[in-house]
Amino acid sequence: MSERTVAVGSAQGLHARPASIFTEAAKKSPVKVTVARPGGKPVDAASMLLVMTLAVKQGEEIVLRAEGDGADLALDGLAELLARDLDTAS
């Protein structure tokens, strides 16, 4: 099991557009990725609906987890994405 903890960089938090960009990326990843608040219940990172219910604000940390071949590479990509401000990304 690989794991990354990352602070969300988007100004509005993980909502609307940032949530949509993140879950689209998670959908394309070769392994199943989960996301959770530290100590919280993990949810499917490819589900925008579930990701939004985490209601993560800018600067708050979340934990990404995945297992299997390519897990580390996938998590690195997603963690890098989350750290950026996706509201202003074009």
Partner: protein, 556 residues
Amino acid sequence: MSVAEATRLVGVGVGRGLVVGPVVRVHPAPVVPADGGPPDADVDAAFEAVGDVLRAQADVATGTLADVLRATAGIATDPALREEVARRVAAGERPAQAVDRSVEQFAQMFLAAGGPLAERVTDLRSVRDRVVARLLGEAEPGVPVLARPSVVVAHDLAPADTAALEIEKVLAIVTVHGGPTGHTAIIAGQLGIPCVVRVPGAAALADGEEVAVDAAAGTVERAPGEDRHEQARARRSAAAELEKDTSPGRTAEGHPVALLANVGSPADARRAVGVEGSGLFRTEVLFLGHASAPTLAEQTAAYADVLRAFGGRKVVVRTLDAGADKPLPFADQPGEENPALGVRGYRLVRREPGLLRTQLAALAAAADATGVDPWVMAPMIATVSETEEFVDLARSAGLRGPVGVMVEVPSAALRAADLLAVADFVSLGTNDLAQYTMATDRLRGSLVDLLDPWQPAVLDLVAATARAARAVGKPVGVCGESAADPLMALVLVGLGVTSLSMSAGAVPSVRYAVGRHTRARCAELAQLALASRTAHEARAAVRAAVDDQVGATLGL
């Protein structure tokens, strides 16, 4: 179908425009039948198809609409939602029922979380409606994406539907239900889109068929001939001619009558050119669609934006008018049995005083930021005590411009002299004044005859209010839709009304009509209306006495 069968459908027109164009229907949301719908419907295919349609629509849309469509497409392909539906179907639920219940489960979760999540519930339910419609074999519900300029035909349009319309492609709006003072009509009027409401025959109109919509006559004509095309062009060029005149409102002898626009947002304010300012800035529009009240900073920015758009011209701000037909999630009192007579408008201060205080503080901050002092008024004032309270609140918030109240309740009209001893001005909201004078729900389209602003009892109250204002030399405006009717505008001027605020699109016709009559002539027209026994007789008497050229040019 025989030729005689309903080639000309009749309703109630809003505005003066005449257009010819193809019909696009807005289909209502599907209802899951008691048996749950067909057992073998392919739920995955339905979700995929809805996702594809939404993505295709997003690709041709722009701005916010494109973002909303893309996010909604994301919901249709959401793995968690799909798993929940699959689980329910495996457990024996019918597909349509499973979709309905799964979406509702997420919607409840979002509503419980509140904040920005609660605002996504509309998108969730829109996916439910679209997928369920497919599973039941019904037409795609909701507002379609318009491929070309079209006449939008609906049973009724919710404010959210109207917001989803690509206005620049809407030639006209036709509804089966609704009323001339309902919100679809008001928004259409504001945007200058011809609109005909309460057209029972409109339910039979088919997608793609060509119709002529005449808002001045309140008709929708099927298979219009070349003559109608010609008339539409003529009406357009006459309107364009009147629009060239952007001078201040004046009677024939030069007595000023301020002509103002009703606006709801900074975008409306920027569209309001060729007017002397705004006689009604409806602030609740900024609050609609929010799960919680906008912050002081958000409100300050929005108000400053509107003040700047008018560049020093007069702006009359109406404080939050929520409740009854304009529900807001954070101001609503569930279980009001009679919301139009309940806690609405200024009365919200009894339950949520913070809302008004924040709003007045934001207006004062916007005034400081822009150097423009807005006029401020409170809606739904019934007594002089409420008037005193509001004036105190506004002054202690630091507002320096005129502070007034709206006259929408008969008690305020009857005691206007008392109100005007305290307030700097009054503004008549004729839609609500008619509703409360005639004891007629303004959303009850079937009672539209009782809501007619030409009802002599309503005119009596307008006259009483104007008389009280004239006695003390204070301004009395009208900001209801009746000011947009050129004939009524003449009567209002004759009664002593000093400013008329209406949808921006109506101003050129009113400017023209007022400019062709003296104030003395307007007073005679007002007397004709007041001397009539019925609304119909009042209008007919004024129509017969109005300047011939005005009647002909405006197609009155």
